[in-house]
């Protein structure tokens, strides 16, 4: 069969049911095979949108997301989502067309060195040299993308090779002598960790996106509740532990709660699970958790002791390690009352510094209220995607996620424009769930063309715009740290979002009154197709609390 038909067969063999992409000269053969290949193709309006859609699909469903692009500009438009998938460890496969082999290296039309450009931002990549390699290459790409620490894998297929006639045989098994992720976790180290936990008087469990990736939310909760261990999550880990819970400290880091950040600061033992001590967590590294010893559990050994030296490193899959750790800890039958003093201290912080804001006493919609309204209108049970900025942080603070894979955002790369395309991908991955995109008025303008995709493909995502007329997060920094010199942050004339939605054939709505917001949101949620709800919020609200960049937890403001 044609190599491209083998591509489709290989994708089906991996369980792929939908792909996102845009065709062009170099991947024309692939699109010909897609025509009646039996896989749903979602035509996006920009390759960046296709890439983020693949990410949203993967994050919501746990399955590998796939995006397609042609050579040259198609492939370079994928660079942002590839980098995004790398930093947030999203299992994705990117299939790019490449110019014909005889043109490679000649600056041929639409030639770009795709594997070269993406080399530092992929988990792995391969350019096909021989069409007979294709089935194996695709099988191995999926294997690499979803195992170990997940990530993006790119397969670049020269156009002429994709037209070759090859024998297709399903491939099982991989031949990757250099790739053997550790999953089990060293038993001795796990015992040591249990013993350290048993002796800790001020322990904190700090969980990240790795727990979500490992589908280990239940196992995390079991560990935390095997005693009264205080728990905090990174922005990527939200939902891994049910937020309304006695032991929940709230998110930590730059816009985390005071209880979470102060607890890290005073802890004597920190158990990091699938988290990587990013600078948004640690602030000033030399003053981070100065009294703590660290247990670090991660499937990627290169994360351990990268930023913060670990005392008990445990390499492996959280899903297999956490139950063993819980069992070892229970077997020690330690006296839980040793944590009384610690909880008293934490409760003190909680009472003194609850997360809160000053609500308006008129019809003005405060941005924090908008998130609370969303929580109410969705019963706290939607899949929520977001863009990047203040709205993202407020959502992380005020939408109390109780389950994993419900909060989909760009944490590592911080990509504006992530929200809408990832929402459409998430909706395709989880067709029965309600998907809401909390968009920034700035961010949405980077990928709003994907409204056309939603309308055409009948993808009923609800886009709630937190419209503050500003690149709000940058404005906040300018207000706080740059003497209020607002440079390049006023959005001026934004589009009329209602008309824009209507122009695309979606429903457009506007909210300006606090009292009507929840009902309007409910109406939007009940509408059939995609809806854009433009919510006009206070323009100059700041997101607090906050650790100014490069400072320590003790220096939180707001």
């Amino acid at each position: 069969m044609r190599a491209v038909d083998a591509i489709i067969e290989s994708l089906k063999a991996e369980g792929v049911e939908a792909v996102f992409g845009i065709p062009g000269g170099a991947n024309l053969p692939t699109y010909d095979a897609l025509y009646d290949g039996g896989i749903r193709h979602v035509l996006c309006r920009h390759e960046q949108g296709a890439g983020h859609a693949a990410e949203g699909y993967a994050k919501a469903s746990g399955r590998v997301g796939v995006a397609l692009a042609t050579s040259g500009p198609g492939a370079t438009n994928l660079v942002t989502p590839i980098a995004d998938a790398m930093l947030d460890s999203v299992p994705t496969v990117f299939l790019t067309g490449q110019v014909r082999t005889e043109l490679i290296g000649t600056d041929g039309f639409q030639e770009a060195d795709t594997t070269g450009i993406t080399m530092p931002i992929v988990k792995h990549s391969i350019m096909i040299q021989d069409p007979r390699e294709i089935p194996r290459a695709i099988h191995e790409a999926f294997h690499i993308a979803r195992t170990g620490r997940p990530g993006p894998v790119l397969v670049d297929v020269p156009q002429d090779l994709s037209r070759a006639d090859i024998q297709y045989e399903p491939v099982d098994g991989v031949s990757l002598p250099g790739y053997r992720p550790t999953t089990e976790g060293n038993v001795k180290q796990i015992r040591l960790a249990a013993k350290a936990l048993a002796n800790a008087r001020r322990p904190v469990i700090y969980a990240g996106g790795g727990v979500v990736n490992a589908n280990a939310a239940k196992e995390l909760t079991d560990l935390c509740t095997s005693d009264r261990f205080p728990v905090t999550c990174t922005v990527m880990g939200l939902g891994a532990f049910p937020a309304p819970h006695d032991q929940w400290l709230g998110m930590l880091g730059m816009h985390g709660t005071r209880s979470a950040n102060y607890a890290m600061d005073e802890a004597d033992l920190i158990v990091a699970i699938g988290a990587r001590f990013d600078d948004r967590i640690t602030g000033k590294l030399s003053e981070f958790a100065p009294r703590a010893k660290f247990i670090h559990i991660d499937v990627d050994p290169a994360e351990i002791s990268k930023n913060v030296p670990a005392h008990i490193p445990i390499v492996g899959d959280a899903k297999s390690i956490l139950p063993k750790l819980t069992r070892e800890y229970r077997a020690l039958e330690t006296d839980g009352s040793r944590l009384d003093g610690w909880w008293e201290r934490i409760r003190g912080w909680r009472d003194k510094h609850p997360l809160g804001y000053e609500d308006s006493d008129d019809a003005e919609i405060k941005p924090q209220y908008m998130v609370e309204a969303m929580y109410e209108a969705t019963n706290g049970d939607a899949i929520v995607t977001s863009d990047v900025g203040q709205h993202q942080m407020w959502c992380a603070q005020y939408y109390h996620f109780t389950k994993p894979r419900r909060w989909i955002n760009s944490g590592g790369l911080g990509t504006m424009g992530f929200g809408l395309p990832s929402a459409l991908g998430a909706q395709i991955g989880q067709p029965d769930d309600t998907v809401v995109c909390l968009a920034g008025d700035g961010s949405l303008q980077m990928t709003s063309q994907e409204l056309a995709t939603c309308v055409t493909e009948k993808i009923p995502v609800k886009v709630f715009i937190m419209n503050n007329g500003y690149l709000g997060m940058v404005r906040q920094w300018q207000e706080l740290f740059w003497d209020g010199r607002y440079s390049g942050v006023d959005m001026g004339t934004s589009p009329d979002w209602v008309k824009l939605a209507e122009a695309y054939g979606a429903v457009g709505m506007r909210a300006t009154q606090k009292g009507e917001l929840v009902d309007q949101m409910k109406a939007a949620l009940e509408a059939d197709g995609p809806v854009v709800l433009d919510v006009q919020v206070s323009k100059e609200e700041n997101c607090y609390p906050m650790i100014p960049a490069g400072q320590a937890a003790r220096d939180m403001v707001g």
């Binding site: 530092p120 002598p177 013993k195 002796n199 290169a302 990268k306 030296p309 670990a310 008990i312 490193p313």
Partner: protein, 185 residues
């Protein structure tokens, strides 16, 4: 410290950090990689991204045609080597990495020296070459080219000796190394 299987707990004060340590010595990394296009670029890219300076680099085939060996040397005073090796391990095409112990390793490098030695200086240069067990491989009216193999110390010592004659150029291969004893590197 608490033993596995006992109920004894562990004093947190006894815990020591692991990893992220600067060793302070020179390291020879011997890396087996799949013989595929782009692998060297991936390896080199990892060092470039973190501004780790590679001192020497040698790449060549092994006895298995599907596998190549990259030997590179790095300064462990400048960089935490465990971070480098962990990052290298993440490359799918990297099969095996050995951080060779200097005392347990034989390493050799080949260097070519083009020296501005006229007829008068020639005898002296040849004497040095003999002492270093090098070979004269080319002579012209106003120059000589000498080949020396050895450890990097030996090559640097030879360089010191012949510099006063006028060193026109020097070309070095970078060290290659194998572990001592019977087992494979």
């Amino acid at each position: 410290m608490g033993e596995p299987g006992t109920k004894e707990v562990l004093d947190l004060q006894d815990l020591q950090v692991s990893g992220g340590i600067h060793t302070g010595r020179r390291h020879i990394l011997s890396i087996l990689v799949e013989n595929k296009p782009g692998v060297l670029a991936r390896v080199a890219g990892l060092f470039a991204r973190r501004a780790f300076n590679i001192q020497t680099l040698a790449v060549g085939p092994t006895d298995d045609p599907t596998i190549s060996r990259i030997t590179l040397t790095l300064d462990g005073a400048m960089h935490p080597i465990d971070q480098v090796t962990k990052q290298l391990h993440k490359l799918i095409n990297v099969i095996k990495i050995r951080d060779l112990e200097p005392s347990d390793t034989v390493a050799r490098e080949l260097a070519l020296f083009k020296i501005a030695a006229d007829a008068d200086a020639r005898a002296q240069v040849m004497q040095f070459t003999d002492i270093f067990r090098g070979k004269v491989i080319d002579v012209s009216k106003r120059s000589m080219t000498v080949e020396v193999t050895g450890t990097d110390d030996k090559i640097e010592a030879f360089e010191q000796m012949i510099r006063p004659f006028g060193l026109i150029e020097m070309v070095r291969t970078g060290e290659i190394a194998v572990s001592r004893g019977r087992s494979a590197t």
